[in-house]
C-alpha cells in the first residue's frame, strides 16, 4: 500500500506572504479611487469569508446567517456613535462585545442542531434580528436607517484610512485562521468537524468549542460590519442584514477551499474583481456571471474542502479513467 505523506509545506511561503503584505500597502498609496474602493471591498469580502471559515470550514457548522453579526456590528457602531457620541474605536469594541455575546447566547440552543437544520436556524436568526431592527424605530431608526457623520479630513485621505483599516482587519482574520490551524483550540474544532461523537469521546467538550469558534467568527464579522457602517456613513436594515453578504462569503470560501488559510483570500480577489469588471463592462449580465460562477463552484468542487483534496480527487479520477481505457483493450 503506498504511503501518502500529508502536505506539511504551506501552500504559500512566508516570502510570498511578505510580498503580498508590502504590495497591498503600496497599492493603497498609488491606486486611483475606483480601484482603491474595489480592493477595500475585496478585503471586506475576504474578512467575511474567513469569519465563515472559522465556524463552517474548521468547525463544520454552516452558519448561513453569519451576516447577522455583520448587521449587529453595523448597528451597534451606529447607535454608539449617534446616541452615545462614542468614538469609532469604542463603538467597534461595543459591537464586538454584542456580537460575541449574541453568538454565545444563541449558540447554546442552536448547536443542538446539526447540518442543514443548523444552517436554516441561523438564517432564521438573521431574519428575526432584521425584523426587530426594522421595527424598533426609537433605537434603530427603523426602515429609514441611521446616518453617521463623516470622519474629518479630505475624501482621498479618508479612503486611504478605510483601505488601511480593512486591510488590517483582513490580516487579523488571516492570522486568526492561521492560528486555528496550529493550536489546541483549532484541533478541537477540526475534531468536531470530522466526527462530533468521536471528539466528545476523546474529551473535547463540543459545545464549548463550537460556541467559542462561533464567538470568534462573530467578532470578525461584527468588526467588518462596524467598519463598513463608518465607511458608508449610512446604514439601513436591508443592507446591514443582506443575505447576499453571507452568500458571497460562502461562495468565496468554497471557491478558495474551506479550512484553508490563504485560499479564501485569493478567491476573494478573483471573485470581487470578476464581479467589478463584469459590473463595469457587462452591466446587463452582471448577476448572470455571478450565478454561473456559483454554479461552477458547486458543480466542479463538491465536497472537497481543500485544494490538496481536490487535486487528489482529480488525480484519482484521471487514474481510474486511464485504468478503464487500458483495461478495455484486448
Amino acid at each position: 500500500m503506498p504511503r501518502s505523506k500529508p502536505e506539511r509545506r504551506a501552500p504559500i511561503g512566508p516570502l510570498a506572504v511578505a510580498v503580498l503584505f508590502v504590495m497591498l500597502i503600496a497599492a493603497g498609496l498609488v491606486l486611483n479611487g475606483y480601484w482603491q474602493r474595489t480592493l477595500t471591498e475585496v478585503f471586506l469580502v475576504a474578512t467575511i469569508a474567513q469569519s465563515i471559515n472559522i465556524i463552517a470550514g474548521f468547525t463544520g457548522y454552516a452558519a448561513f446567517g453569519q451576516v447577522v453579526f455583520f448587521g449587529l456590528g453595523n448597528y451597534t457602531l451606529a447607535i454608539a456613535m449617534t446616541s452615545l457620541h462614542a468614538p469609532f474605536l469604542a463603538g467597534a469594541a461595543m459591537g464586538s462585545v454584542v456580537c460575541a455575546g449574541f453568538a454565545m447566547v444563541c449558540g447554546v440552543p442552536l448547536f443542538r442542531l446539526k447540518g442543514h437544520y443548523f444552517a436554516i436556524a441561523t438564517l432564521g436568526l438573521n431574519e428575526a434580528v432584521k425584523a426587530v431592527v426594522n421595527n424598533w424605530s426609537s433605537l434603530t431608526g427603523g426602515g429609514s436607517g441611521i446616518s453617521l457623520s463623516l470622519p474629518a479630513g479630505n475624501d482621498r485621505g479618508n479612503a486611504q484610512v478605510f483601505y488601511g483599516a480593512f486591510l488590517m482587519l483582513m490580516w487579523a482574520s488571516i492570522a486568526m485562521v492561521w492560528l486555528l490551524g496550529r493550536t489546541r483550540f483549532g484541533y478541537a474544532c477540526r475534531a468536531i468537524r470530522a466526527d462530533e461523537d468521536a471528539a466528545a469521546s476523546t474529551g473535547v467538550n463540543p459545545l464549548f468549542y463550537k460556541t467559542g469558534a462561533w464567538m470568534v467568527s462573530a467578532v470578525l464579522a461584527g468588526l467588518a460590519g462596524s467598519l463598513y457602517a463608518y465607511w458608508q456613513s449610512y446604514i439601513e436594515p436591508g443592507v446591514a442584514f443582506d443575505m447576499d453578504i453571507s452568500v458571497k462569503g460562502f461562495v468565496v470560501l468554497l471557491l478558495g477551499g474551506a479550512g484553508s488559510v490563504f485560499g479564501p483570500i485569493v478567491a476573494a480577489f478573483v471573485f470581487q474583481i470578476v464581479s467589478t469588471v463584469t459590473w463595469g463592462h457587462l452591466l446587463t449580465f452582471h448577476l448572470g456571471t455571478m450565478g454561473i460562477l456559483i454554479m461552477l463552484t458547486v458543480l466542479l468542487l463538491p465536497q472537497r474542502y481543500t485544494w490538496s483534496e481536490r487535486r487528489r480527487a482529480v488525480v484519482a479520477g484521471l487514474q481510474s479513467a486511464r485504468q478503464r481505457l487500458v483495461g478495455a483493450r484486448p
Binding site: 477540526r190 469521546s201 476523546t202 474529551g203 467538550n205
Partner: protein, 238 residues
C-alpha cells in the same frame, strides 16, 4: 468483594421517545475483562452509547469509580477514566495517525507526559509508528482499529469499552489486536468488549453478559456462558 468500577442499575436507554434497552443491570470490576455479546439488533450499541454519555439514559443509573455519572456529559466521562471506542472506529479520517493519537490525549495538558504515552502506544502497535504521518482514513481496517484503541489509551483509562471489536476484520488481525488487549489488560485497564462474534467476545473474558431484544438474558463466567446450549439458542433462535 471489591467495589465495581462500572455499575449499571436498571438502565434504560434509547433514542428520543423510543426505548431500546430495558432494565440493564451490569457491572465491571477493576482489572476485570467482561464481554457483552448478542445478535445484531440486541441493543448493545445503544447500551454502550448510554454508558459513554452519547445518548442520555432514559431510566436507571450509571455509577463509575464510586461516582454517579448518569447525567455527566460524554467528554467529562472520558476525563474520569471511562473510554469508549464507538462502532466503526470513528477516527478523524482526514487527520494523520499521530494527530488522531494526540487528540486522544486532549484532556492531558502536559506535553512531556503525552509524548511518553505516545511512545507506549507505538510500542504496543508498531505499525502505527511506521504510519504516523499517514492520513487515518487510508489505513486498513485493522490498523484503524489499532489507531482507535491507541487514541482511547492516550488518557490511560481505568475502563476501556470497545464496541464491535472484530467488525469487518480478518481473523488474524483480530488475534493481533486481542494480543495487544491482553497487554493493556495486564497493565491494569478493565475491559468491556462488545462483539457479535461469540468467540472473539468470550475467548479472553472473565465474565460475560448476553443481550437479546434490549435486555440481559444470560450472565456468568465466560467459559460457562460459552458452553451453555442456551447461548446457541440466543444466536440461532431454536
Amino acid at each position: 468483594m471489591t467495589a465495581p468500577l462500572l455499575e449499571l442499575r436498571g438502565l434504560g436507554a434509547g433514542y428520543g421517545l423510543l426505548q431500546v434497552v430495558w432494565d440493564v443491570r451490569l457491572h465491571v470490576l477493576p482489572d476485570e475483562w467482561v464481554a457483552l455479546v448478542g445478535a445484531s439488533g440486541a441493543g448493545k450499541t445503544t447500551l454502550v452509547r448510554a454508558i459513554a454519555g452519547l445518548n442520555p439514559p432514559l431510566l436507571g443509573s450509571v455509577r463509575f469509580d464510586g461516582e454517579d455519572i448518569t447525567h455527566l456529559p460524554a467528554h467529562q466521562r472520558v476525563r474520569a477514566g471511562l473510554a469508549m471506542i464507538p462502532e466503526g472506529r470513528r477516527l478523524f479520517t482526514g487527520m494523520t495517525v499521530r494527530e488522531n493519537l494526540m487528540l486522544g490525549g486532549f484532556a492531558e495538558p502536559h506535553a512531556a507526559e503525552l509524548a511518553g504515552r505516545l511512545a507506549d502506544i507505538y510500542d504496543l502497535f508498531p505499525v502505527l509508528a511506521t504510519r504516523r504521518d499517514q492520513i487515518a482514513g487510508t489505513l486498513s481496517g485493522g490498523e484503524q482499529q489499532m489507531c482507535a484503541i491507541g487514541r482511547a489509551l492516550m488518557l490511560k483509562p481505568k475502563l476501556l469499552i470497545i464496541d464491535e471489536l472484530s467488525l469487518g476484520l480478518a481473523p488474524a488481525i483480530v488475534d493481533a489486536i486481542l494480543d495487544a488487549l491482553i497487554v493493556v489488560h495486564a497493565r491494569g485497564t478493565a475491559l468491556l468488549i462488545i462483539d457479535q462474534d461469540v468467540g472473539v467476545g468470550l475467548g479472553q473474558a472473565d465474565r460475560a453478559y448476553v443481550m437479546r431484544s434490549g435486555r440481559i438474558v444470560m450472565q456468568g463466567e465466560a467459559d460457562r456462558v460459552l458452553r451453555d446450549p442456551a447461548l446457541h439458542r440466543e444466536y440461532i433462535g431454536v
